[in-house]
Subunit: 275 residues, 2 copies
Amino acid sequence: MTTQVIAKALSDAEIEEYLEFACRVAELAGQEILPHFRSGLGVENKSTVDYDPVTLADKQAEQVIRREIARAYPTHSVFGEEYGRSSGSCSLTWIIDPIDGTRGFMMGLPQWGTLIALNDGIRPVLGVMHQPFVKETFIGSRHGAYLRRAAELRPLRTRQIDDLGDASLCATHPEMFREGAERSAFGRVARRCKQTRYGTDCYAWCLLAAGLIDLVIETQLNPYDIQAVIPIIEAAGGVVTSWSGQPAYGGGQVIAAGDPTLHRTALELLGDSSP
Amino acid sequence: MTTQVIAKALSDAEIEEYLEFACRVAELAGQEILPHFRSGLGVENKSTVDYDPVTLADKQAEQVIRREIARAYPTHSVFGEEYGRSSGSCSLTWIIDPIDGTRGFMMGLPQWGTLIALNDGIRPVLGVMHQPFVKETFIGSRHGAYLRRAAELRPLRTRQIDDLGDASLCATHPEMFREGAERSAFGRVARRCKQTRYGTDCYAWCLLAAGLIDLVIETQLNPYDIQAVIPIIEAAGGVVTSWSGQPAYGGGQVIAAGDPTLHRTALELLGDSSP
């Protein structure tokens, strides 16, 4: 038995409305998160047992986002990192990662962000990555990809680099790839790139959309780690798929490239290395 | 024949004055750098041949810093990444890295910064790390270590984590360590830490001072990569030395720890692995 999934067709006006909503609630989430960022700074004898700032920030931020969705769109579903799935009556689902890059967050680094996507029943149709400390938001939908910072709105375009030897590659951590076939596959691509950079988390996808990074390869992703950035990357001209070239909505092994030829080349090198 | 180096003793008032100067010129440098950060964003067919934003930003920023030093303190010496050494008549030397973390800068990531130290003839007596995009400055001298962001000034203290199993370790890149003894030595420490994070550059030293990171291990550093952060780390209660336990002013292989016991343990594991 197969379940037929019906995607909800959204008008331009609806896309605009939901995008504005996503940006607004991401900023509300940021207000919950920031008091916990670097909160122990300057305090002696920090206890790491009693107080877990990232979990607290994650939960409070997701609660605020869920509360706003319930108020504005009570028929919509929600799928978040902290509180799982809650099903509404229509096929629209908000996919939430309150803090992507929790390790960086815990270390006080600025490379983390709040991810919010809207899925139409099949795929994410809009997404935002908001960084409340740096105060910037990456935005994507079929209306384009943009970076908003204060009053400035700049369009995003990927870079047309089609040769691995010219490409900058990002990943979260080299040891995130499982030992054996998966790590070897990543290594085959990494060795041919001009440079690699680790510890980039959600910023890597967004800066690939901005034409500053050429290739991002990750594994062990959850749907909420990737759905928000897919509309940003695609609207900027990039390609994002699973390692086997399928839609990446479900997470797992994901590869994004700014240039389609570069994507094909890297995909061939990755080969078959499913876990 | 040995050259006797005389350190200039500085009064509290002088330290204060030079710190304020360092913060002010770091901000001026930031004004030169920011127009080149993510400058190609949204532009199609970016040429990577004709325009090298990071080199331009680096040079313009160092020129501004050197101009201000020449105006305010014409007898002081300067040692900068881009324009090398210029000798003054007194033993005070300003040590400058206009953009530490050029790879992150080129990728549009926020983890880079401007480093300025003042060396008294033997060692750095004050240092600042300024990040003009994130808009924050880490400051250190014998008067203490602080993080300045807008009107807020927060004191920095390292974290008292003395067991590797509880420690967060940062380094710029795992392959920066030379294959063989050096990479093995790093691996011996990394494997025993709770977690490692790469791609952190100058932020790692500063967030170690802030008590959010426990251990930073680097190699192939230049004096201008490390001198500015030494006074920040030491004033916050941390320890920073070469891998052989000697002063780290000259760069090379450097290790910093928030806790002295952790530093000793890591140093023993690194063992003798000089290149």
